[in-house]
């Protein structure tokens, strides 16, 4: 086509198109404020952490089902939309734009990976989209270096708060007071080292050894020999299941049996793969679906069991994540009721007014305006879980609870 810019009609058309484009650009944020009643996730639904996406879906979908059966929120039924980010930050950014701009959802729910949550921070601010994290525990997800976080909230653990919790339990269990650390050589594992060291320093101790390992390593005897020789009888542990199993087997080989106090990278799967070696391994968490559940939690479990065709609570590989996402669903619904409208800014502001009792804790209030309290689950809500007979249970339900 011969495109002649000097032709007056064409010039008029171009000017009209540009004006329309400018109008659309200006109008978009205002339109986006009137959002749809959808809660959309960017999670790993395929790839090595696909079970994390499923764990989130289980809790959130059951919460939304219950809410909708009670009439929905503000006269509308909520919908859950899930996009796969395959664990990649770039895909998480794409999904965020899709959720915020195309789907125009009222809120986004984050997945397992902290790097993904960090990658979408500027996009959330640009679009003005509230975000709720239910697994990724990175401190910087809610405590931004800039000092201003308007849109990111969390119903999950926070690394900075987890480290003192782990040190506390390690000290309780250690006979010698010598504590070591073993962590995977990833952003998560390496990022936890300063937090753990600071927590140890606050308790006036120094880690006697720090050892790392790579993903897919099959034998960690060398590192464990060094930790054993340092005298550590309790280890702070940052790992996921497969490598945790290799660590336990390596300990078994060399006859080294320290107390393991782990961050929540390890899941119910370890109880099945490591068998008796996992017995008594402590894992920080927020909830366990085993033992004496409240009547409400029992009902929730029955619904999850039916909807996702599970047999036992042991099939919930990330029990805390499922509970976090369940409570997140209700906190969002409560905030929408307070906001009185499907408006993202009003929803964000309403979060600070939510007072709600979930299955994990009584959130009173759920959030406060300081960035530190954009976390609904605070250290006093943290629970120590442990493996017993292949299941992940709250410590008090097992023989590994310390006698008072």
């Amino acid at each position: 086509m011969n495109w002649d810019s000097s032709f007056p009609a064409r010039r008029g058309l171009v000017a009209l198109a540009m004006a329309a484009l400018a109008l659309a650009t200006v109008a978009k944020p205002a339109l986006a404020q009137k959002a749809e009643p959808c809660i959309a996730g960017s999670w790993e639904l395929s790839g090595p952490l696909a079970h994390t996406g499923l764990a989130i879906r289980m809790g959130l979908e059951v919460a939304v089902d219950e809410i909708n059966e009670s009439g929905g929120v503000l006269g509308k039924k909520l919908r859950v939309i899930a996009y796969d980010d395959q664990g990649e930050p770039a895909r998480a950014v794409d999904n965020t734009r899709r959720i915020g701009e195309k789907d125009n959802c009222i809120i986004m729910i984050g997945g397992a990976r902290t790097p993904n949550a960090l990658a979408i921070r500027p996009v959330l601010s640009e679009i003005g989209l509230p975000w709720m994290g239910v697994i990724s525990a990175g401190t910087r997800v809610v405590e931004w270096e800039t000092g201003t976080n308007e849109w990111m909230f969390r119903t999950s653990m926070k690394d900075r708060w987890v480290a003192p919790f782990l040190i506390e339990y390690a000290l309780k269990r250690s006979k010698s007071g010598k504590i070591g650390m073993m962590y995977e050589a990833t952003g998560w594992g390496q990022g936890a080292v300063p937090d753990v060291e600071a927590a140890a320093k606050a308790r006036k101790i120094r880690l006697v050894g720090k050892e790392t390992f790579n993903l897919a390593d099959q034998d960690m005897s060398a590192q464990l020999i060094r930790l054993r020789d340092s005298g550590a009888d309790a280890l702070i542990f940052y790992s996921v299941d497969r490598e945790a199993n290799a660590v336990l087997k390596s300990m078994d080989r060399i006859g080294y049996k320290p107390v393991i106090v782990s961050a929540w990278g390890i899941t119910g799967q370890l109880g099945q793969t490591a068998g008796p070696l996992a017995e008594g391994v402590l894992v920080a968490g927020t909830f366990a679906w085993t033992g004496d559940l409240s009547p409400r939690a029992t009902k929730v479990w029955e619904r999850i069991k039916t909807k996702f065709k599970l047999s036992t609570p042991g099939d919930l590989l990330l029990p805390s994540a499922t509970a976090n996402s369940y409570d997140a669903g209700y906190i969002i619904a409560e905030a929408l009721k307070i906001a009185g409208d499907y408006d993202r800014t009003k929803l964000r502001d309403a979060f600070f007014k939510v007072r709600y009792e979930g299955i994990i804790a009584k959130y009173d209030p759920a959030f406060e305006k300081s960035m530190e309290r954009h976390d609904a689950i605070i250290p006093s809500h943290y629970k120590m879980l442990t493996y017993h007979k292949g299941l992940l249970m709250t410590l008090e339900q097992t023989p590994y609870a310390l006698k008072k």
């Binding site: 390992f213 897919a216 060398a222």
Partner: protein, 291 residues
Amino acid sequence: MGEVLQYFVTGLSLGGIYALVALGFYVMWEATRAANFSHGDVYMFGAVLTVVLYGSGFPLLLAAALSVAACALGGALIERVLIRPFNREPNAIGWMLTTIAVGIVLESGTTIAYGTLGRPLPTALARQPLRFGGAGIYPQELLLPLAAVAAMVALEMFYRRTILGRAMRAVAFNPTVAGLMGINVRRIAAIAYAMAAAVAAVAGILIAPVVEATPSMGTLIGLKAFGVAIVAGISNARGVVAVGIAYGILEKFIEGYISTGARNAVGFTVMILMLLAFPQGLFGRKEVAKV
């Protein structure tokens, strides 16, 4: 002393895996002057399929046998579909791409069908470690270097004492002349790939009770085993096994005395230096061409 012994025995086990997988590269190379670059994924598939069959109620030995047979069949299929059509011309390299691609397909397909999380394969030999001199190892792990040596001896006997083995050697020496002598070169190549795949599957099955069988377990093992085969000189079964076991032990000592992070960097650097010093490989023969 205990730690030296520990590094040695765990290195022996790891080296057993490298040796078994590298033996497959030796067998394939001898038959076709090409190799299946998804060989590490065949190792993975042997382990995963055994876990799945065992989990479905098959007795362990039957599950393992079926898995080895399936991998052998798969190996022959790879040769027929992904090597042969792309290795007709001298210096053809299309088979590299096709076999790398099928490795990715195999890993992705296994991830979709099996999931990403490991599953246990309990055996009596992986329950209680043997402890001696301050070191420890599961009896299951000791099967790996033993299997590598047994496979090497079996291969040598096969090549020397059986008609099929001699035919394979003839094909390796000169496929054109071997064909003119009535040897079915194509069939020989398919059998060689089946044998290589079976040996890799055995390695995967033997280590599965100690590590978790996962779809990603084979990639790095395959790459290192290929490096081992090249450093050994690829045309010498004894050399391949010796270098495989030595490399496993070397890695454990690097982990023990330098750091875990240095393992791959130092290990691969050593491989490069060895190749610079011995371009034909440590046990390789210089190929002489008549002109």
